[in-house]
Amino acid sequence: MAQDLYQAPDYYHLDDLLTDEHKLIRDAAREWIKREVTPIIEDVAQKAEFPKQIIDGLAKIGAFGSFIPEEYGGSGLDHISYGIIMQEIERGDSGVRSTASVQSSLVMYPIWKFGSEEQKQKYLPKLATGELMGCFGLTEPNHGSNPGGMETKYKDMGDHYLLNGAKLWISNSPFADIAVVWAKNEKGRVHGLIVERGMKGFSTPETHHKWSLRTSATGELIFDNVKIPKENLLPGKSGLGAPLMCLDSARYGIAWGAIGAAMDCYDAALRYAKERTQFGKPIAAFQLQQKKLTEMITEITKAQFLTWRLGVLRDEGRATSAQISMAKRNNVEMALNIARESRQILGAMGITGDYSIMRHMMNLESVITYEGTHDIHLLITGMDITGIPAFV
């Protein structure tokens, strides 16, 4: 990739709404991305490799469980801090952000919220440093938008549980040390179980040939009569509400993250438009290009405010799932549109790996689908405002 000249747009001085510590955390993450991620990311994306070498750095900037209390190895920070870290990481790459989201919101969060004290002590500090990496198994081959229909199940065998089934599209699965897996008991109730790599009958084949999130490893989780020690069941909460709480946390981070991808595309397009000359003028001098750039910064600014407000509500414990859905849906679509428009501003250069735009665009095709598709989030808001569910 060409030199990273990124300058974050902040058209309405949103920075004034952040604390000095937020800005310190943000600037540290921003500098780290510039120094350690952008120089390697294009190459690993082209090769479809997960960049293991950055795990330690991610842990150091607080990308793993920043909101987890210090006693469990986290940083005990607020949700705005978590959001701005996700934003900076996704400015670099949505695949890297996915790894951080899964580790923080889908693995550490359920262990922290629903785990026993022993489970918290055993896993959280090592997950915070990246010594252990985790994944989250909810989606199945036959159950995506409708996880309640899941077929993965476990049986109580007296001194252990016996787990059978399969999960698909699982981020981090090919290298994860542990998996938080959602499965039904004999009564059909959903529970979370911690499955460790190495358990007999547990395998994690990788899903290849993705055109999207190529820096994030995706795979399956296959359970063939896996014996799970009873102490690996998450005791704190059962029912579909438990994984949905995790998804709230992850979707909230994605709402912030998507803005990062959009800001990176806009910034690259703006700089290119001022430098590229056609018909004797910089292309930024043409009204059609100005319209694109103006609409981009307007949408970014709106999303920044929406999301900052969502962060305040979440820190006050008042953000609803439906509010999070609205932000995730709005911001990811906004980012995808900006990626497409920016790509056009760069003309042919936009399709190359010299710029991050095409990579962002392809990544965002996953982001708009995972953690609840664009349609499903619309139905969540629809249900919230009308009181009528329209899922089935």
Binding site: D15, D20, E21, K23, L24, A28, K60, I61, G76
Partner: protein, 248 residues
């Protein structure tokens, strides 16, 4: 060894520069501030003294409350404590007077500053501070080693290097070369959390009237576009130089 690192808080070099109040004040609206780049090299070198020779590091800034995030960042990088002299940094001599007072009270062995700050580029503070205190002073340092009371300091000179030996207490004006870009540190989350608990002391300035007043700022005139004339059109070139540029 007690080290004092002088940190100034300057606009990011990519900021758009504007002035207000009839071109007498810098307009900080929307401007991002950073640790002065020379000071960052100096602070990183000080961290090596801390890690390898057990030095303690105090960071100091002469400025109003808006500069505290910069001091907090220095604490997150690893300084032990911070002092802010609560006043506007009006001019170089004024700042040197304030720093000299902090140094007298703190008894530092080594005072490390950037050779100049990237905002007003005065380049006077370290030298003036040393002079007020009658301390040894070396400017534009690209290397420093300390053994006991002896310092060996390397300076950049035209076409080469100069190596000096001197004694503590010493003031240096430093720059890149003390450490390289790749050595600069990004605060990590642990550092940021520890910085919360480190002392940041605010002291009041000593009475002293600044000796200079800014009467006007002027921006450089924008670079004009260059015109390319075909090599075989000498007449056109002569005409443009004569009638448009009016230089011949």
């Amino acid at each position: 060894m007690k080290i004092l690192v002088c940190i100034s808080h300057v606009p990011d070099t990519t900021s758009k520069i504007n002035f207000t109040e009839d071109n007498t004040k810098f307009d900080s609206n929307g401007v991002q501030f950073v640790i002065n780049p020379h000071d960052e090299f100096v602070l990183t070198r000080a961290m090596w003294f801390k890690e390898k020779q057990g030095a303690s590091i105090t960071v100091v800034n002469v400025g109003n409350i808006s500069t505290e995030p910069t001091l907090r960042k220095a604490l997150a990088i690893g300084a032990d404590d911070a002092i802010r002299v609560n006043t506007e940094a009006t001019d170089g001599f004024y700042v040197a007077k304030q720093l000299a007072e902090v140094i007298k009270n703190g008894g530092y062995d080594l005072i490390m500053a950037g050779k100049e700050s990237m905002d007003y580029n005065g380049g006077m503070v370290p030298g003036m501070t040393a002079s007020i205190l009658d301390y040894n002073f070396v400017n534009a340092c690209i290397g420093i080693e300390i053994e006991g009371n002896k310092a060996t300091v390397t300076r950049d000179i035209d076409g080469g290097k100069e190596i000096l030996s001197t004694e503590l207490p010493l003031v240096i004006g430093g720059q890149k070369g003390l450490v390289e870009d790749k050595d600069l540190r990004i605060p990590n989350m642990r550092g940021i959390m520890m910085a919360r608990k480190k002392p940041l002391k605010v002291v009041e300035p000593v009475d002293f009237d600044p000796t200079t007043v800014i009467t006007d700022f002027e921006k450089p005139t924008p670079k004009s576009n260059c015109k390319i004339i075909d090599a075989d059109k000498v007449e056109e070139l002569v005409d443009l130089l004569h009638n448009e540029a009016k230089v011949i």
